[in-house]
């Protein structure tokens, strides 16, 4: 592919083909793009290579099985797969046995209520603005956000590692979230 990166609506179309036609070519397009990224994500969290491989396969198999549950109006494929991989990490690696059932319960609540909530459907436009906003975070905020998401460090771990007061870690994360959330809510 020599043109720009595929957007959220491209991935939604691939998911529709997987869900309705059980289309393997579409599934492998999703695999080729997302599997190495999920693999990198898990490796950065300190997961051993062989376990990361297994969890990536498990995440993609979940996608194959539960494709009918994917709702593009609710979340993009990137968001959906992030949740799946994060949940597998907490379940298998952090060994918190109650996390998965609780997340499944919250998912079902969202499904039930998605008709009643005035949630904004994710579009490629939103995602592009969010990407730009992430790229424009001040260096300290960008570092804290990455330590949080990509290294799964708690507030106190971040505070210790960077020798920052806990309150400053939290307020910096708060400011980052407000900025990033604002970018998703920008008027079109």
């Amino acid at each position: 592919m020599n043109h720009s990166a595929p957007d959220a609506s491209y991935w939604s179309a691939q998911m529709a083909a997987v869900s309705v036609q059980r289309d393997r070519a579409s599934f492998m397009r999703i695999y080729d793009h997302f599997a190495p990224r999920l693999q990198r994500y898990l490796r950065n969290l300190g997961v051993a290579e062989s376990i990361a491989d297994e969890l990536v396969q498990e995440a993609l198999l979940t996608l194959w099985r539960k494709a009918a549950m994917f709702d593009p109006a609710r979340a993009s494929l990137a968001t959906w797969l992030y949740r799946v991989a994060r949940n597998l990490y907490i379940d298998h690696v952090r060994r918190e046995p109650h996390w998965l059932p609780i997340q499944e319960g919250l998912d079902r609540l969202d499904h039930l209520e998605s008709g009643r909530l005035d949630s904004q459907p994710e579009s490629s436009f939103d995602q592009d603005l969010l990407k730009q906003a992430i790229d424009h975070l001040p260096p300290v905020q960008a570092k804290l956000v990455r330590m949080c998401y990509l290294e799964s460090k708690s507030h106190s771990e971040i505070a210790r590692e960077l020798d920052m007061p806990l309150g400053s870690v939290k307020s910096s994360l708060r400011r980052s979230f407000a900025k990033l959330q604002g970018s998703m809510r920008a008027p079109r």
């Binding site: 539960k66 609710r74 919250l106 998401y149």
Partner: protein, 220 residues
């Protein structure tokens, strides 16, 4: 009744990242179950995670990994949408604790076996939780707790009854999301006992000698 007091942005971000200490995550999950506002905010936080994972530079998958993946598909049937469990649709049963608390305290508020730890204060402590301390507290109506702050983070959700402190009024479903600097002295409302679930990732610090002598009683 919709909660009025919500999870802090920094707490939500950590929850989304899988980086919240386990005890705090239990209380956050219990609140999320009853709060559509925070579930919407959590989706925003998950969107950030999705983009960060996408932005990483990677290589294309190896041929043997692709072949292994394709081979696995044959054994996997498609799943239909599961029906929503009745417990979620049914009108909220006031005796039912949030699902996130069931593994630690069981499903029923009435069935709880309280232990008195100080005059007017009863407690049940979750055992075996890694990453912090998790407990239910039942405080008699109209009681004043000792002035205290927290060494780390504290997350408290009201399950029944209410209390007031310098941050305002907290009723059922509300969470108080406090960091180490907050010094507070909750006063429970008259009428029914205030039942709440509290999680900390570090011990409480009481500010007076009187309160410090109470500390072992609370066992925080």
């Amino acid at each position: 009744m919709k909660p009025n007091r919500h999870l802090d942005d920094a707490t939500l971000l950590s929850y989304s990242a899988g980086a919240l200490p386990a005890a705090l995550a239990v209380v956050a999950s219990a609140h999320l179950e009853r709060c559509t506002t925070c579930r919407e905010r959590l989706l925003d936080a998950d969107r950030i995670g999705g983009v960060l994972v996408q932005q990483q530079r990677v290589d294309v998958p190896a041929d043997d990994a692709r072949a292994a993946m394709l081979a696995l598909l044959d054994a996997e049937p498609a799943e239909a949408l599961p029906p929503a469990p009745a417990e979620i649709i049914e009108e909220r049963n006031p005796d039912r604790l949030p699902s996130a608390l069931h593994p630690w305290f069981g499903p029923s508020m009435r069935a709880l076996r309280w232990r008195r730890v100080a005059p007017g204060v009863q407690r049940i402590r979750a055992s075996g939780i890694a990453g912090g301390d998790l407990m239910l507290l039942r405080i008699a109506p109209g009681s004043k707790l000792p002035l205290h702050s927290h060494g780390g983070s504290e997350l408290t959700m009201i399950l029944d009854g209410a209390y007031d402190d310098l941050l305002g009024h907290f009723g059922p479903g509300d969470v108080a999301d406090l960091d180490g600097e907050t010094l507070h002295q909750p006063v429970t409302s008259p009428g029914v006992p205030c039942i709440c679930v509290a999680a900390t990732d570090a011990p409480l610090v009481f500010s007076s000698w009187m309160a410090r002598t109470l500390q072992p009683l609370f066992g925080f």
